[in-house]
Symmetry: C2
Subunit: 225 residues, 2 copies
């Protein structure tokens, strides 16, 4: 028997993985970033094959990882977590630098970053795992705590997007019994659910300028479910 709740206890951080170059850069929010060897230092990142950044990393053969701080803004994780670089230029207006390989490095809400050259690509079925050798790393702001996936779920009430390796189909969880005459509203952008049964204010009474706590979408982007 598989209890998906058992898997929620695995610890992850949240990162922006970027690739491309000055003219055409893109990135996405990843939680599966980890060091796999120390001599030489190598890192792995997992990326859904449909993800636009996967395509770019395959061509560029390099990527950067920005380690996000705990209080990262919804704009940052909304843009990088729930939008596609096929539709918008995610890098526009951001504080960027360019790595030794030319890849963009996002500095907004970033504690530290590192840059890797891809040395191997592993096909995992739905996802690709890029394994990169470290070529540079730098601390940007040591005063902040890193954003963890646990904090994002519990405090920010965020959910993994469909392309994430840790995406959980809600129908797999046995729960949701109470909500009788209260409603649930779902963000059509990021799928975040606002549940009247557990929130202090019903959705209908939220101010019009309220935004999705996960992706920053307007209240009007929500539908009753």
């Amino acid at each position: 028997m598989i209890d998906f709740k058992a898997l929620f206890k695995i610890s992850y951080g949240l990162y922006i993985v970027s690739s491309g170059d000055k003219n055409h850069g893109n990135g996405f929010i990843a939680n599966t970033v980890f060091q796999v060897t120390s001599k030489p230092p190598k890192f792995a990142v997992c990326c859904n094959k449909n993800n636009y950044t996967a395509e770019i990393i395959k061509n560029t053969r390099a990527f950067s990882v920005s380690i996000l701080q705990q209080e990262a803004t919804p704009e940052i994780y909304g843009t990088f977590g729930y939008k596609s670089g096929r539709d918008v230029n995610k890098m526009e207006g951001l504080n960027l630098k360019y790595g030794e390989t030319g890849v963009p490095i996002v500095l907004n809400d970033t504690i530290s970053y590192f840059e890797c050259k891809v040395v191997e690509t592993v096909d995992l079925g739905t996802h690709l795992m890029f394994i990169g050798e470290l070529i540079q790393s730098e601390v940007i702001d040591d005063t902040k705590e890193p954003l963890t996936y646990d904090y994002f779920r519990k405090v920010k009430k965020g959910a993994a997007p469909k392309n994430a390796p840790t995406y959980i189909d809600k129908s797999n969880l046995e729960e949701q019994t109470e909500s009788k005459n209260r409603y649930q509203h779902q963000c059509t952008i990021c799928k975040y659910i606002y549940n009247d049964a557990v929130e202090p204010i019903p959705f209908s009474e939220l101010p019009d300028n309220w935004v999705c706590p996960t992706c920053g979408a307007a209240k009007s982007e929500f539908i009753k479910i």
Copy 2:
């Protein structure tokens, strides 16, 4: 330029990865455990090639992962983190169950566990990455927080053993300037350093029954460095 401090901001948990069978089981403390796909759920674990458990996983083609709770005892992470199953039977006296593949699953200090069948092995140089498909998972104790590597380093003052993917050679860090007439003592078992300059009591004044906070070794196992 590489600043190794930048890499300390990556988030990891701490886990016991076990393999083998009822007669001959072994496990080690891993921090690189992560989900890599959701359909089907697949997980990756990294393991140094010299690690005895790597040998056993290669033969058994299955492993279990016990997610440790924050207040795991030094006996547990001392045994699994800093001793070799070639020298001791790590499973002796523990609260175990056996998975569908027959692998042992450590339940001591465990929040939840999962069991995987190996579907791929990636050679990373010094380490092997085992990719396993989920076959079962269970929550054991939902009231506890998971132990993170950050907590282990900051609160428990633990260090990654030499075989870990995240091992940092201290000579790579520019630090340690103050300790003038104070001493440092190092645990010969796990390499933990007790530094008089930052501790409230000098090492020499610690009681004889004091044990290494990282691996539980006796005070007599420390040497002045």
